[in-house]
Symmetry: C2
Subunit: 290 residues, 2 copies
């Protein structure tokens, strides 16, 4: 086990409170005074999650959007966010982007911290939401016989990044992901399992299968992609799309537009079967968590 994997394991060993579902992979879900709080924290680091010189307004949008997407996958309604921000070049743009995304989703900034530092900038966001349906959906609930569904198209962020790299301007699915809050709330009462596709459809499906102790079979051709057909596999392994991946009992139609891309089977030889081929480990199915 790498030292990073060992470290994350040690954090998971610490995170044993019932509210701590699965450190890093899942939101915390906390019962409090008759409400159910959903809490998530994601960081973005210059050079890792965005290139040096990126438009900091886009970084602010994405920082908020990816955290709200975690709430969306829980069917939660955002209450507010706390920001941790390293000061630096582009702060004016960052403030503008932050105001834009918080205004767009009507989410208040509740507090936070600004710090000075040398070297690459880092930014953290804690999003706090209120569950609109209990039990709160998780990635662990997929049942044998369920159908696997995904909202929207995969690969949009990949195409968006390439457009940015070609020097095209404007908002793309890469720079301006859209957290599916309304869809998540509509789905929450119906799904047996749900998560957002942050690291690639195949990797996230693999994780859902592992968490639910089932196998998931995906028909790659059925997945809608926002990329040329010859890049289908890339689209299914690229991350950052923030679509919702969920399971429903067979025969049930989702209350929001989505595509049936596979089904849940008894745990077999591998967690994931792609067009009938077993995928035994998650290597190469998406991009690394950090």
């Amino acid at each position: 086990m790498s030292s990073e994997a060992a470290f994350i394991s040690s954090l998971r060993a610490l995170a044993t409170h019932p509210a701590a579902r699965n450190f890093e992979d899942d939101c915390a879900v906390l019962e409090l005074g008759g409400e159910t709080l959903v809490l998530t924290h994601d960081m973005m680091v210059e050079g890792t999650h965005y290139p040096p010189g990126a438009d900091m307004a886009d970084v602010a949008w994405k920082l908020v959007a990816v955290n709200l997407s975690d709430l969306a996958a829980k069917g939660a309604e955002p209450i507010g966010v706390l920001l941790g921000h390293m000061l630096g070049n582009g702060d004016d743009a960052f403030a503008k982007g932050l105001a834009e995304v918080l205004g767009h989703y009507n989410v208040p900034l509740l507090g936070g911290d600004t710090v000075s530092g040398k070297g690459p900038k880092s930014h953290g966001l804690t999003a706090i939401g209120r569950a609109t349906h209990v039990p709160v959906p998780s990635r662990t609930g997929a049942q044998v016989g369920d159908a696997l569904w995904v909202t929207g198209e995969l690969g949009g962020a990949m195409m968006g990044l390439e457009a940015l790299q070609r020097g095209e301007s404007g908002h793309t699915a890469y720079s301006h992901p859209v957290p599916l809050l309304t869809e998540g709330q509509a789905l929450a009462p119906h799904v047996t399992a749900m998560m957002d596709v942050s690291d690639g459809l195949l990797l996230d499906s693999f994780r859902m299968a592992e968490a639910s102790r089932v196998s998931i079979a995906i028909d790659s051709k059925s997945a809608p992609i926002a990329a040329p057909e010859e890049r289908r596999m890339e689209a299914l392994t690229w991350g950052d799309d923030y679509q919702l991946l969920f399971t429903l009992p067979a025969g049930e139609e989702p209350p929001v537009p989505a595509t049936n891309i596979g089904q849940v089977e008894p745990r077999g030889f591998a967690p994931l079967f792609l067009d009938g081929e077993p995928l035994l480990n998650s290597e190469g199915l998406g991009y690394s968590h950090n």
Copy 2:
């Protein structure tokens, strides 16, 4: 106004929700389901908040302790924390220190994120607490005629850092600050204003006076210090002590050990009077916020 000050102002302009008391300077206080939540987020950056090569177990302790201290100043009981952590050298020690401090204060790790990055490491922590008394104390409530009190001694962190710099080992007030959770909860029903002394007694008193729109008069000789007498002024302007600074109506005795170091006066010529001398601006009274 510097670009950093402008940025922080723009965040404050965004943080207008009633729960967002004063961005960065104060915890968020959120009514939810009959409970009152207190939320805070502080970051620590290598090279800014701790020297490269520091014992990462100490960094983990301090990261948690300074956030719990924010909860202490609200009389809040911790519910849990979310961690944002940049992976790197010393992660084993960090995990050990984190387990130690969370175990010591019986606070669960609820979730978070780990990230890779090049350059100085940064770490963020969000602490979530439940108010034990409402209204939740704030720095804005000091009333003319109140007495000003502080728990413990000032300057301990300064002496602790110097001990570390001399190569002495072991826990110091600098490396292992103690959040005064029990004291904060005992004080909350009695105080008119309360905050923790994170950036220096004089600077934080100045801020309390500004927030409460009063003047505060401090008798420097009356403040207990954990340093040689000739370093009294340094002890009163050094940060990181995490004592509780609070005001009580005149004649009232605090329920925990503390020292009366001054009083609250009508807003006069300056926010702060030190031994009768007006201190008009906060320059030099403590250390900078970031």
